[in-house]
Symmetry: C2
Subunit: 340 residues, 2 copies
């Protein structure tokens, strides 16, 4: 294998080498307590020479404090969530915290399993991404936890200690207002996997209700079997436009699907935003790096991750905070004049 199976260097070895008690070594390593500068240096050097590496498992067990934070997101290959994750670790890592990740794939049972496993690792905190329905099992587990838990990506859900994210209901409403303000009335929604993703569904429902309030009916074209990606957006848009050629506006579940849709619309010679108005969701950089300018809702994904991490840190510092942080929703207008 190449790696040593040999003896592990522990506090005891360092202590023996220096001729002090292991408590002294422990204090030196953690920079606590009163240690004379001289012994401090001797210990440091001995530790270095022996290649001593503290065992944080033992430390955590003893102090009943860990520096591990569990994060559960629906999927890692979706850039949206991995950017949130990136924000989280960017804040936590420099402060000595480690994140371990779980992918729920929008499955409540998987999520519950992950929560169980994570709690058994005695985390300092838990960050749970919205979108997945919280099973009863998961709720029971969470009640027993002895660490703060934060709801990510959805500030409408306030079951946990803190929520960070947008109001998806508000986002849906925002899109409705955007369309209505332009006098558009033949409006469609294109999405996928809505049965699983509660956040997306919440936006869809809000859009539908807000439109209904204005007497406008929403056409829905969705698929539960294909992924929420460009290809699906393209197919569904084609399907939609054939069934209802007079469609004036489309809201997509996310930017990727919108991009697929734009691709079809352009090919079919339908001008955007001339003939049809398109709104995506997320504000991912992909569509905008090239020549498309997609109207979308910017989700400040990294900021949400960072904010959640900060909230967690605050709760760990003073165990009294209880609030939530609502991400502001920006509808970024682009004008899609060129092909995708």
């Amino acid at each position: 294998m190449g790696h040593k199976r040999g003896k592990i260097v522990t506090l005891v070895d360092v202590a023996a080498k220096v001729g002090v008690s292991r408590m002294t070594v422990s204090k030196v390593m953690r920079d606590v307590g009163n240690i004379s500068e001289e012994t401090r240096l001797r210990v440091k050097r001995a530790a270095d020479e022996l290649g001593y590496l503290p065992n944080s498992l033992a430390g955590s067990l003893s102090s009943r404090k860990s520096r591990m934070v569990g994060v559960i997101i629906p999927s890692m290959s979706d850039i949206v969530f991995s950017e949130v994750l990136s924000g989280v670790t960017a804040v936590l890592r420099p402060r000595g915290f480690h994140t371990f990740i779980g992918e729920s794939h929008f499955d409540p049972d998987v999520e519950a399993g992950l929560i169980r496993e994570m709690l058994s690792l005695q985390p300092a905190g838990l960050l749970l991404n919205g979108g997945t329905a919280r099973s009863r099992d998961a709720q029971r587990l969470l009640e027993k936890r002895n660490c703060p838990a934060i709801q990510l990506w959805d500030c409408d859900n306030t079951d946990l200690d803190f929520s960070v994210g947008p109001s998806h209901a508000e986002a849906g409403h925002l899109v409705a207002m955007h369309f209505l303000a332009r006098g558009l009335r033949r409006i469609a929604y294109v999405g996928a996997e809505l049965e699983k993703d509660l956040c997306a569904r919440s936006r869809y429902v809000a859009l539908r209700l807000s439109l209904a309030a204005a007497g406008v009916e929403l056409v829905e074209v969705t698929s539960e079997t294909t992924p929420r990606q460009a290809a699906t957006g393209r197919t569904l848009t084609q399907q939609l436009m054939r069934a209802d050629p007079d469609t004036q506006a489309i809201h997509y579940l996310n930017d990727a699907m919108a991009l697929g849709g734009l691709s079809y619309l352009h090919e079919a010679g339908i001008a955007v935003p001339g003939q049809i108005s398109v709104v995506g969701f997320n504000g991912t950089s992909i569509p905008n790096t090239v020549r498309t300018r997609l109207t979308t809702i910017d989700m400040q994904r990294t900021a949400i991750g960072e904010m959640a991490a900060h909230a967690l840190l605050t709760m760990l510092a003073n165990a009294n905070t209880e609030r939530s942080w609502r991400a502001t929703l920006h509808l970024v207008q682009g004008n899609t004049t060129t092909a995708v």
Copy 2:
């Protein structure tokens, strides 16, 4: 806060409730040893009623075995690496292993720090992504480890116990052959952050050397200050084409940059692949979901992650394997006839 700070349920509590020793409970929870069906059930039920959750930190400390695997990747917001990660967790999670993540951002010192922290968590194994230079500190740390470590994303580097990934040198050579076979002689390379990313640099160098062997000089247009993204690819391509309008072929550091390049080329009225031949790297789905068909090298990212995980599992099972798995390189040909 909402979460209980109260008493923690341990083995002892369950044991007391059932009237057996804690060892018995421990065995039941882990499904080992000989336990009568009757006590097994009683223990299970008591554990459930008390809401007992095993403390895996304590378990790991005692058994000197953990089920945590540390993974270090350069960046999580780069979809390439997060897909590798996704493959890793897809294999490890169902087997009871947890992955904790570190982002090195191609910084050797950050990587060393991450390795140190991860080792102190007593991981079952370590997966280190290629690309980042391994600092001397990191090497010293790795020598002291007592768990298998696997090199990801780069099979040319065989410092660790196992390597999974492509040969970047080979990839560069492959591209050279692709161009030369087509009789192209004015060839350029467009990339970014080459000083940091050793894998990318290795491809670049191999390309240059293979071309030189055929008497062809490679034009290099790179930037160290802008990110490896579409926008940079676009800018650099523009710069390249102005300086050298007769360029016949361009190899890009990755697909995103290639996409940016294509966008410029199309706008400038330069036909691809008619006037100029373009090859990207990675085989990400982004370019292909729309209407572009980019010639690229498919990296089977998820497969690499899965393979690495399997290799790790194998090494944990029988501590004698020592090999490497070389990902096959597919050059996927597309014909970019339409605009981006």
